[in-house]
Symmetry: C2
Subunit: 96 residues, 2 copies
């Protein structure tokens, strides 16, 4: 399993827009053949901070996500709503 | 869904011990009634860094995890292997 976590901080007056656009991306992403999970998470202490938890069977499957039209639409839509550049970290899943 | 991410940095010569002990915790945790996922992830760029992704149906289910014998054994076992205090962040899951 190959996991990317993406940390995002959104400007306060765009939080609801960000949630809507990201749930659209979620619904399409979980239909990708290599996807295991695509969780959209809101920080409990700081509600302008989000974590996307993108788990794929392989690194190749995760790369394919970046070529989908739903990913590109999400990326271009939310870019101007971010309070700082988003930060991704990649992980190797050790369980199973 | 209620998610806790736990960031851990392990001293280099205890990485293998940490993985073993954490996979034992993983196997028992996924059997808890409220558990959705309990992923053990190793940072690809910095292999001494780990992320535990602990997803539960509710905050109550996540709290119950801290009262299990497998959690307590893990916590006490790995404590001396950490290069810095571990850091937990809690999130509200927005999808499904």
């Amino acid at each position: 399993m190959f996991v990317t976590t993406v940390m995002v901080r959104v400007v306060p007056d765009r939080v609801e827009d960000f949630i809507k656009a990201t749930l659209v991306n979620h619904r399409a992403s979980v239909e990708e053949p290599g996807n295991i999970r695509f969780d959209v998470l809101q920080n409990e202490q700081e509600p302008t901070r989000f974590l996307l938890y993108e788990a794929y069977r392989s690194e190749k499957d995760a790369s394919a996500h970046k070529n989908t039209s739903h990913y590109r639409l999400w990326r271009d839509t939310v870019a101007v709503w971010m309070a700082e550049p988003r930060k991704g970290i990649t992980y190797k899943g050790l369980n199973r």
